[in-house]
Symmetry: C2
Subunit: 138 residues, 2 copies
């Protein structure tokens, strides 16, 4: 539970009520929330927390590498607390929920040198889309 908070403290994070609440919201569930959803859930526990603080905190968690930003549809970004495990995403094209998945081969190896165009490639993400069982039955 407080693994995350411990790590952050060790990195010189000032531990405020707001930050704790945001971290707990992310840590608590396996869904990937948008910033506004995080704010809504944080508000339940700490009614005065401001949107700006939620954005700030999410941004800090991302720069610290504790959380990943996932852009699904060009609208709101979602935040993935599962940053320390190598994984990719499976997104329902109807309801937008995201699952983490693990894949069998290394996609980095699939990009041949001549296709890199001089880029210093440092990251790769694979996104699968389809209809989830829930939406399929509806």
């Amino acid at each position: 539970m407080s693994d995350l908070l411990e790590r952050l403290r060790g990195r010189g994070w000032r531990l405020t009520a707001q930050r704790r609440v945001v971290a707990e919201v992310l840590d608590g569930d396996h869904v990937h929330y948008t910033a506004d959803e995080v704010h809504a859930r944080a508000t339940e526990r700490l009614p005065e927390i401001s949107r700006a603080t939620v954005y700030n905190t999410l941004g800090e968690l991302v720069s610290l590498g504790e959380v990943l930003e996932v852009s699904t549809d060009g609208r709101a970004k979602r935040y993935d607390p599962n940053a320390h495990h190598d994984h990719h995403h499976l997104i329902c094209s109807q309801c937008g929920t995201i699952r983490d998945v693990h894949i069998a081969s290394d996609p980095m190896a699939a990009l041949p040198e001549p296709e890199r165009f001089g880029f210093a490639v440092s990251e790769v993400s694979v996104t699968y889309r389809g209809v989830c069982p829930n939406c399929a039955s509806a």
Copy 2:
């Protein structure tokens, strides 16, 4: 060049100056523009074209399957005219430009059945990120 326009006409598209200009902007280059960039370039050729029309036209091209929407960073969507070839993307993490790349293996095969969680998976996209030569030298 007018392959695209021909196809669209065949599908009952009313051919207006505005639509022609937007199609030409997309068709003309290998970069993937944002809607605003498309609008800026369209304005050079047809000064009175409105933002709404550019958005409408891009939306139509996407529904017709002639153009793909690419969500890179949760900010502006970019439009990829290369919808008929199977390809993936290499994005500069600094300036945001996108190149199309071709990869060596089929990423769909990399997702094992138990990792599909009952989804009807229909699509996969692989996104590489790194720093482009241009930004690296700056």
